[in-house]
């Protein structure tokens, strides 16, 4: 039995205007995440990849289908029951500049989830030190404000906050997309390291196939609210079956002039084939 089971998930947003039909963003998506595994969710804008994550987190309401966590149906859970899930399911967002309250110190930001779970002030403080250690930040960060840190460091704080209640699943919503090149690699490695150490599972959402390949065991590809392909990471990200995935793969420029030229030709060939098809 998987840790997270999503079956036929539909999400629709109410449209503007009086009687306009709601806008369905996910048209029945299914996926599984096993304990300790990373499932990469790839797609472009409008694919619905972020919406799946937000539905699992309860930030968005499902209009159809089911989400089961550890066997329990959490699709329509809300209020106090949803808050209980915060022990098991956590999140790291994309934007390190707005995912931390700029008016709170790092110590307060990290202590908040702990105190909500019932820790005392003293317990929380001790745990905060451990968390900072886990993500490679110095303990003098406790008294400082987020604006004093770089994007990569803030993202580490966000990771530490996600780890605080010792969750079993973390939804990672494009956590490295807003970071510099050199920082991206380091933060990704941190994710991998944490997974090895704690056995946490990741639902890793990204638009970047290379990033997803680096960290995922399995990969699922989304296009406009439908899942077009799922499979082991190696297969999906280098030799996919689905034509959209192939298009995605060939569109990403590779950092090597010669290989990029090959890829460009392959992409042109694919586009020509599509046109004549």
């Amino acid at each position: 039995m998987s840790l997270l089971e999503v079956r036929d998930l539909r999400v629709a947003f109410p449209a503007r205007g009086f009687r306009a039909a709601p806008n369905e963003v996910l048209h029945g998506v299914s996926l599984d995440v096993a304990a300790g595994e990373t499932l990469g969710l790839v797609g472009e804008s409008g694919s619905g990849k972020t919406t799946i994550g937000r539905a699992v987190l309860g930030l968005v309401r499902a209009s159809g289908g089911s989400i089961r966590f550890d066997g329990e149906d959490i699709t329509t859970v809300s209020g106090a029951a949803r808050r209980k899930l915060s022990k098991d399911i956590q999140v790291v967002f994309q934007d390190p500049y707005t995912s931390l309250n700029p008016a709170m110190t790092i110590g307060d930001i990290l202590a908040e989830p702990l105190i909500v779970q019932g820790a005392t002030g003293r317990d929380a403080r001790a745990q905060v030190r451990t968390l900072l250690d886990q993500v490679g930040l110095p303990s003098d960060a406790i008294e400082r404000l987020p604006r004093e840190f770089s994007g990569g460091q803030r993202q580490r704080v966000a990771i530490a906050r996600a780890l605080a209640p010792r969750p079993r699943l973390i939804v990672c919503d494009e956590p490295v997309s807003a970071l510099d090149l050199s920082t991206q690699a380091r933060v990704l490695d941190l994710f991998v390291e944490i997974q090895r150490a704690t056995g946490v599972a990741y639902l890793f959402v990204s638009h970047d196939l290379t990033v997803v390949r680096h960290i995922s065991h399995r990969v699922a590809v989304l296009y406009r609210g439908d899942m077009v392909e799922t499979g082991p990471a190696a297969k999906v990200t280098s030799d996919p079956d689905d034509p959209y995935t192939r298009k995605l793969l060939l569109a990403a420029p590779v950092a090597d002039p010669r290989r990029q030229q090959e890829r460009r030709l392959a992409r042109r060939a694919l586009m020509d084939a599509e046109r004549t098809a």
């Binding site: 472009e44 994309q94 090149l181 970047d208 680096h214 950092a255």
Partner: protein
């Protein structure tokens, strides 16, 4: 800002030029300390405190009642024994009435302000934070309040309030509430969508805690500022109504005193003077205090700056050595600095040397803060006003650009040097149709007629791959996708067949499939028009795809430059090597299998 219906752009916020050029935001000093350092705040607070105290100490300061008449003292002048400031037409002591009026004013201010704040803040919190139905409901309620005809209502309801200023001020407070509601609601709406509020929800915080911990903090500043202004308004309105005669004659107030003073203006001018002076001081103090509070809470607001002023240069332009005519652009020893809030200047670009040949595509690569965008803006002459070019020269087609007047620069921009921005949506004016803006740009840099320009724009929109050019021409920016907007901006840029195209991260904000198409387009246009291109980017894949030569920037300087193959095959500088090394390997995959589900000490 993502458009929910736009399938081609995604938000990636890369901190860039804004971060460099922004003035310091509010520092860490707590607000009350900042207030104490502000002489305006100190003076106004002291004045107000003194005045309020005087009002409270009235029984000790005078033995006269506010309505106590002494027929012997009618219109007594200043200094009459027992009547410090004289007496009015009914023989009432002006000094005593003044002191009592202070209390009336204070109560009026308290009533009006507190009602307005309570109703407005609650409404704003509820209307901003909760769902659509609550939102609509509060909107209706406050729209309703706003439809009441203001002060007229207070006059009309005189029979109901019987002229008592207290219920009148209560009603006035309700009338003032919509202003507060709007402010609070917008703040809450802004905060509600912040990621850190989502994170708090996921952490398990309930709504009340989120409101208290995260939302209220953002709101407290504006509320306090509003309180100062509301108090002034309340006192002003109450005085005005009392002046009119709305209200019991028994209650002493500035308005009533001013009214009687006005009537006796020729007989005893000072009767009018005292209440006016005091009312003026109170009102002025509250307004000035409000301004000081605003400065303390919100920090320095962006200052007005003259656009189109050529950036200040510390060195007059003039090439020292002969310029190689083959180079279209030659940048030598360019240094750009910004003044710091703490005094002094900080360099963001230092000693940059860069050459671009005609028809060549040069990639300017670096991470955020490397100064690459600044270099590009300097070449265009669109650096922010605060920027200072401390040294160096930029020679374009034999002409020195540094120090060039804005008028001369304008003849080059849009004609010989063109620009494509990073974020397509925010670079189009939302009030004008796309076609109209493009035509305006074309006509500003050429002598075409409107019809000619329109034809050109339509043909260009087709050239850049837009399926229905007329439709895009007639659309507003918010009606088209990010990919189409970028194509439109490219069309506008190449309209004049420029010699140099400066592209500032043109594909960063786009989806990867759209990115590939835009890069194809740029490559085609570059070949067709034989343009030189300066491509600013942080993505080495993009560079590998389109660039002939690369310059790598770090911390404001170029650390390495060469042909694309040279740099990729044999990077010399350690920073370049580090950057290339950080690029994730194409083949790397997770080798380790997921650990078996572990219960035990993780729970």
């Amino acid at each position: 800002m993502t458009l929910p219906n736009d399938p081609t752009t995604r938000t990636v916020r890369v901190p860039g030029t804004e971060a460099i050029a922004t003035a310091t935001r509010s520092s860490r000093t707590p607000v009350w300390k900042k207030l104490l350092r502000d002489p305006q705040a100190v003076i106004t607070i002291s004045l107000l405190v003194i005045i309020v105290l005087l009002g409270l100490l009235t029984p000790f300061l005078t033995s006269h009642g506010p309505n106590q008449t002494d027929l012997n003292a009618i219109n007594a002048p200043v200094g009459t024994p027992g009547f410090l400031l004289g007496a009015d037409e009914s023989g009432r002591d002006i000094f005593a009435r003044l002191l009592h009026s202070i209390n009336t004013a204070v109560i009026a201010a308290l009533l009006g302000t507190s009602v307005a704040l309570v109703v407005g803040v609650l409404g704003g919190l509820v209307g901003g934070y909760f769902g659509r139905i609550t939102q609509s409901a509060t909107e209706w309620i406050f729209s309703l309040i706003m439809t009441f005809p203001g002060v007229l209502l207070l006059i009309i309801l005189m029979p109901v309030t019987r002229g008592d200023y207290r219920p009148t001020m209560l009603i006035f407070g309700v009338l003032l509430a919509p202003g507060i509601y709007r402010i609070v609601r917008n703040l809450v709406l802004g905060v509600k969508n912040e990621l850190y509020v989502d994170a708090a929800r996921v952490s398990g915080l309930g709504n009340l805690r989120i409101l208290g911990r995260h939302v209220l903090f953002v709101v407290r500043g504006p509320i306090i500022i509003a309180a100062a202004f509301l108090a002034g308004t309340s006192i002003g309105v109450q005085s005005g109504l009392a002046f009119l005669g709305v209200g019991s004659i028994e209650i002493p107030s500035f308005g009533a005193m001013i009214a009687s003073g006005f009537r006796n203006l020729y007989i005893a001018p000072t009767q009018f003077l005292w209440p006016s002076l005091l009312l003026g001081v109170i009102t002025a103090s509250l307004v000035l205090l409000g301004n000081s509070l605003r400065d303390a809470f919100e920090g320095a607001k962006p200052k007005a700056a003259r656009i189109g002023a050529a950036p200040s240069t510390e060195r007059t332009a003039g090439a020292d050595e002969a310029v190689d005519a083959r180079n279209l652009v030659e940048i030598r020893n360019l240094a750009i600095a910004y003044p710091q809030a703490s005094g002094g200047i900080a360099e963001v670009v230092r000693g940059v040397d860069l050459k671009i040949n005609r028809g060549e595509v040069v990639g300017l690569v670096g991470e955020s803060g490397s100064g690459k965008s600044q270099t590009a803006f300097a070449t265009l002459g669109v650096l922010p006003n605060e920027a200072i070019i401390t040294s160096g020269s930029i020679v374009f087609d034999g002409q020195e650009l540094v120090g060039l007047s804005e008028a001369r620069m304008r003849t080059l921009r849009g004609r010989e040097i063109a620009y494509i921005p990073q974020e397509p949506m925010s670079n189009l004016d939302p009030s004008y149709r796309v076609g109209v803006q493009l035509v305006e740009g074309v006509r500003s840099s050429s002598s075409m007629s409107k019809a000619e320009a329109k034809d050109l724009v339509l043909s260009l929109l087709a050239r850049v791959g837009i399926a229905d050019p007329q439709r895009t021409f007639d659309s507003y920016p918010h009606e088209i996708s990010g990919g189409m907007a970028q194509r439109a901006l490219i069309a506008g840029a190449v309209a004049s067949r420029p010699k140099l195209l400066i592209a500032d991260e043109p594909t960063t904000a786009l989806d990867v499939t759209v990115q590939a198409e835009i890069l194809d387009l740029l490559r085609d246009l570059q070949a067709e028009l034989d343009m030189a291109v300066l491509l600013v980017t942080h993505n080495f894949g993009v560079v590998a795809d389109v660039c002939d030569r690369i310059a790598v920037m770090q911390n404001g300087s170029i650390v390495e430059a060469g042909t694309t193959l040279e740099i990729f095959d044999h990077p010399q500088h350690p920073y370049t090597q580090m950057l290339l090394g950080s690029i994730l390997e194409e083949e790397s995959v997770r080798a380790d299998a997921p650990p078996a589900a572990v219960e035990g000490d993780t729970k």
